[in-house]
C-alpha cells in the first residue's frame, strides 16, 4: 500500500516537474519570433485577395460548409474583412517583434483561425491548424518576456538594462512539444490505415501530382518504389517513437534532426514550402536554457557588449504609453490596407472601360470538352512496365536489359486504379517479333501491380528479345532485353514460367 502511494507521489512529482519547472522561456521566445513570420507568409500572399477569398463580395467557402454544416461564421463585407485581415497581419508582425505580445497573439490567433475557417478551399490546410495550435499556446506563454520590444520597454522603465532573464513555469512549452508528439503519432496512425503507403504507391502518386509547388526531386524518386517503401517504414517508426524519445536530453537533437530532414524531404519530394517552415519554427520550442548557454559559450567572442547595444538602439523618448501607440499603429495599418485595396480595384469594376470581359473560346474547343466521353484506353490502366531480377517488399528493386542464361527475368507491371478484374498477358518475342512464349494471369480490381517470372532456359539462344505486356488483346508496352552466354544443360524450378 505504502509502495503504491510512494509511486503515486513520484508520478505526481515527475508530472509537476515536467509541467511546472521554472525555466527562462528561450524556446517560447524563439518560436514567437519565427512561427508567426512563417504563418504570415501565405497570409501575406493572400492580402491583395481578401475581398475575393474572405468577404461577401467574393467566394469564401467555410470549412463548416465543406463538412456539411452550412455557413456558421459570419461573412463580412469587404471593408470590415480587410480591416480585420490587416489587423491580423499587424498583430502577427507585432508578435514577431514582441510588442504588446500577449494582446497581439490573442487577437492574431483568433483572426488567423477565423480567416482560415472562412476559406476552406484555398487557405485552410493542416499547417494552418498546427500554426493555430502553436499560436494559441504562445498566447498563454511568457514568450514576450525575452528578446522583445515589451522586455526592452520594461527594462527601460525599470532602468535596469542588464537584468537577468526571468524564469517561468514551462508548461506552455511542454504543450507545444506534446503537440508535435500528437501530430506525428496521429500522422503515423493515418499511414498505418493506408495500405498503399507501405507499398509506395500512395507517395508515388502524390509526388507525381502537380498540386503543390515544383518538386523535380520527387518526380525522380517516384520512379523508385523500393526507396519509397523503405522510407515509408522509417517515417512511421520515427513518427511513433518521436514522443517517447524527444524528451531524452541525449537523444533530443538527434530525433529533431531526423524530423528536420523529414520536413525538408517533404519540401524536396512533395513541393511543400510552408508546412516544413511552420514545423521547423515550432521545433524551436525544444530549445532550453542549457542549449542557449551552450551556444552562447561558443559565440562568446562575437557577443556585443551592452554599450554597443545601447548605441544601436536609438534613444526614443517615452511620449505615449505603449498600448496607445500600438492602437494608433494598428489603426493606421488597417486604414492604409483598406485604402490600398480600394485603389487596387481587384475586379476592375471601377475602371473607365467598365467590367472585365469573359474570354470567348472557339466552338470547336468547347465541343471537344463537351463531346461524348472517350472510354478509358487500355494502356491508361497501366502505370509502368519494367524488367529486373530482384524484388524488395514485393516491388521490383532493379531494372535490367542484359541477362545471362540461368537467370530469372522478373517482370513487373503497375496498374492505375480503378480498374476492373483484368486478364494480363506477358509475351516473349524474338527480335523479329515472333511470339515464343506467353503466359497470363488475372489481376483483380484491388491489385496495384502484377508480376511474372521467366527463367532463361536452354531453349533460347543468345540474342535480343522483347517482353510484351498485353491486356484486352492490345499491346500495352514492350521492353527489349538481351541474353548472352551459353545455354545451361539442365533446368531448375519447373514452377516458374520457363521454356
Amino acid at each position: 500500500m505504502n509502495r503504491s502511494r510512494q509511486q503515486d507521489m513520484n508520478l505526481r512529482q515527475s508530472l509537476s516537474k515536467f509541467f511546472f519547472e521554472e525555466q527562462v522561456p528561450f524556446g517560447a521566445a524563439l518560436t514567437r519570433i519565427f512561427l508567426p513570420l512563417m504563418a504570415l507568409l501565405p497570409m501575406l500572399m493572400r492580402f491583395p485577395r481578401v475581398r475575393e477569398l474572405y468577404s461577401s463580395d467574393g467566394t469564401p467557402v467555410q470549412m463548416f460548409e465543406v463538412f456539411g454544416n452550412g455557413e456558421v461564421l459570419p461573412v463580412l463585407n469587404p471593408g470590415p474583412a480587410i480591416m480585420l485581415y490587416s489587423l491580423m497581419v499587424f498583430c502577427l508582425l507585432c508578435a514577431v517583434v514582441g510588442w504588446r505580445t500577449r494582446l497581439s497573439l490573442c487577437i492574431g490567433t483568433a483572426l488567423y483561425a477565423y480567416f482560415n475557417l472562412i476559406d476552406g478551399i484555398g487557405t485552410m490546410t493542416k499547417y494552418s491548424v498546427i500554426a493555430n495550435h502553436l499560436l494559441l499556446l504562445l498566447t498563454v506563454s511568457p514568450c514576450g518576456r525575452l528578446w522583445s520590444v515589451d522586455e526592452w520597454l520594461r527594462k527601460r522603465r525599470s532602468g535596469n538594462a542588464v537584468a537577468v532573464p526571468q524564469a517561468f513555469p514551462i508548461w506552455p512549452v511542454r504543450l507545444m512539444q506534446l503537440l508535435f508528439a500528437f501530430v506525428y503519432f496521429g500522422a503515423a496512425m493515418t499511414k498505418i490505415q493506408t495500405e498503399a503507403f507501405f507499398s509506395g504507391e500512395q507517395m508515388r502518386y502524390w509526388m507525381l501530382s502537380n498540386w503543390n509547388y515544383e518538386n523535380p526531386v520527387g518526380e525522380f524518386v517516384a520512379m523508385w518504389p523500393p526507396v519509397l517503401l523503405v522510407s515509408a517504414y522509417l517515417t512511421v517508426v520515427w513518427e511513433i517513437v518521436f514522443g517517447f524519445l524527444v524528451w531524452n536530453p541525449r537523444l533530443k537533437w538527434f530525433v529533431l534532426a531526423i524530423g528536420a530532414s523529414f520536413h525538408l524531404g517533404t519540401w524536396l519530394l512533395l513541393g511543400l514550402y510552408i508546412f516544413p517552415a511552420i514545423c521547423l519554427s515550432g521545433y524551436l520550442c525544444f530549445v532550453t536554457q542549457q542549449d542557449v548557454m551552450f551556444v552562447r559559450h561558443w559565440i562568446k567572442p562575437l557577443k556585443l557588449r551592452s554599450s554597443h547595444l545601447s548605441r544601436l538602439v536609438p534613444e526614443i523618448p517615452p511620449v505615449l504609453p505603449s498600448s496607445v501607440t500600438w492602437t494608433i499603429a494598428a489603426g493606421i495599418f488597417a486604414a492604409t490596407a483598406i485604402e490600398t485595396e480600394y485603389r487596387l480595384d481587384l475586379f476592375g469594376t471601377r475602371s473607365k472601360s467598365g467590367r472585365l470581359e469573359l474570354r470567348e473560346i472557339a466552338p470547336s474547343q468547347a465541343q471537344s470538352l463537351l463531346a461524348a466521353e472517350t472510354p478509358l484506353r487500355e494502356k491508361d490502366k497501366f502505370f509502368s512496365f519494367h524488367l529486373g531480377s530482384q524484388s524488395i517488399g514485393g516491388q521490383l528493386a532493379n531494372r535490367r536489359v542484359n541477362y545471362e542464361f540461368g537467370e530469372t527475368v522478373l517482370v513487373e507491371c503497375n496498374l492505375n486504379p480503378p480498374h476492373e478484374d483484368m486478364w494480363v498477358e506477358c509475351v516473349l518475342e524474338d527480335k523479329n517479333g515472333q511470339p515464343i512464349d506467353s503466359i497470363g494471369q488475372v489481376l483483380t480490381r484491388e491489385m496495384l501491380r502484377g508480376h511474372f517470372m521467366y527463367q532463361l532456359g536452354s531453349r533460347l539462344t543468345a540474342g535480343q528479345y522483347s517482353m510484351v505486356l498485353r491486356s484486352a488483346g492490345t499491346e500495352i508496352s514492350r521492353r527489349q532485353f538481351t541474353i548472352s552466354g551459353e545455354p545451361p544443360v539442365c533446368m531448375a524450378n519447373p514452377q516458374n514460367y520457363t521454356n
Binding site: 484555398g122 496521429g186 500522422a187 496512425m189 498540386w211 503543390n212 509547388y213 469573359l358
Partner: protein, 218 residues
C-alpha cells in the same frame, strides 16, 4: 504560482491534452468525425487520400447566342499552393456554384444560358518531365485527357444537373464489369418501407425513423 493558478493551469493542460487524445482515438476508430468541422483541428490525416489520375476543372458558359466562354477570373485566378487556380482545389464542387455566380456577376458578357462543369483527367505518369519519361517508359508519350461532364449550372451557378464524378464512374464501371453482379443488381429492388412512420399518434406529424438500412460508403 498560487494554488488556484496551478489548478487552473492543470485544468487547461488536462483539457488540451484530452482534446488531442480524443482526436487521435476518433481518427483511429473512425468515430464522431463525419460532419464535425472542429475535428479538423485535432485529426492529423495529412495525405490520407490519393488517386492515380490528375484532375482539372473547366467551366464553360454557353450564351443565348450559342457562343462559348471560359468562366475564369479575368483579373487572374488566385493560386494558393502552386501553379493551379483555387477552383482546382475544390475537388468536391463545394465552391463551383459561388465561383460561377461570382465571375458572371463581376464580368461583362452577353446573357448566359448555362454553364457546364467539365472534369479533365489523365494518368499521373504523364506529369513526368520528358527526360524522366524517356528513362522510365519504353513507349511513346501519347497523353490523352478524358473529359467528363460533372454538372450543368444556370447563370447564377445553381446546379441544374449533377452527374457522378469521373473517378467514381470508373470505379462503378470496374465493379459493374461482372455479368453475374450486374444481373443481381438489376433483379434487386430497394425497399424503404421503414423510412417513415405514417403518423405519430401524439404530434400528428411524420417522424423520421433512424432504424433504416442504408448503403455504407465505408
Amino acid at each position: 504560482m498560487s494554488r488556484t493558478g496551478r489548478w487552473c493551469v492543470g485544468l487547461f493542460i488536462g483539457c488540451y491534452l484530452g482534446i488531442l487524445t480524443l482526436g487521435i482515438v476518433a481518427h483511429c476508430l473512425k468515430i464522431g468525425l463525419s460532419g464535425n468541422t472542429l475535428s479538423y483541428y485535432v485529426v492529423w490525416d495529412m495525405f490520407c487520400g490519393w488517386n492515380a489520375y490528375d484532375q482539372r476543372t473547366h467551366l464553360i458558359a454557353e450564351s443565348e447566342s450559342g457562343r462559348y466562354y471560359e468562366v475564369s477570373e479575368p483579373w487572374g485566378a488566385f493560386r494558393p499552393y502552386g501553379k493551379l487556380g483555387r477552383i482546382q482545389y475544390d475537388v468536391y464542387n463545394h465552391m463551383v456554384s459561388k465561383h460561377i455566380d461570382h465571375i458572371l456577376s463581376h464580368t461583362k458578357h452577353e446573357p448566359i444560358n448555362r454553364v457546364f462543369v467539365v472534369q479533365e483527367f489523365w494518368p499521373k505518369q504523364y506529369n513526368l518531365p520528358e527526360s524522366l519519361w524517356k528513362q522510365n517508359f519504353g513507349r511513346e508519350r501519347d497523353k490523352l485527357s478524358y473529359y467528363h461532364l460533372r454538372a450543368v449550372c444556370n447563370n447564377e451557378g445553381r446546379f441544374v444537373n449533377n452527374y457522378p464524378d469521373w473517378l467514381n464512374q470508373q470505379q462503378m464501371n470496374a465493379v459493374g464489369d461482372n455479368p453475374r453482379l450486374r444481373h443481381e443488381v438489376q433483379q434487386a429492388r430497394a425497399s424503404f418501407g421503414t423510412w417513415s412512420i405514417p403518423t405519430d399518434s401524439t404530434s400528428g406529424m411524420q417522424e423520421q425513423n433512424t432504424a433504416i438500412l442504408m448503403p455504407s460508403t465505408n
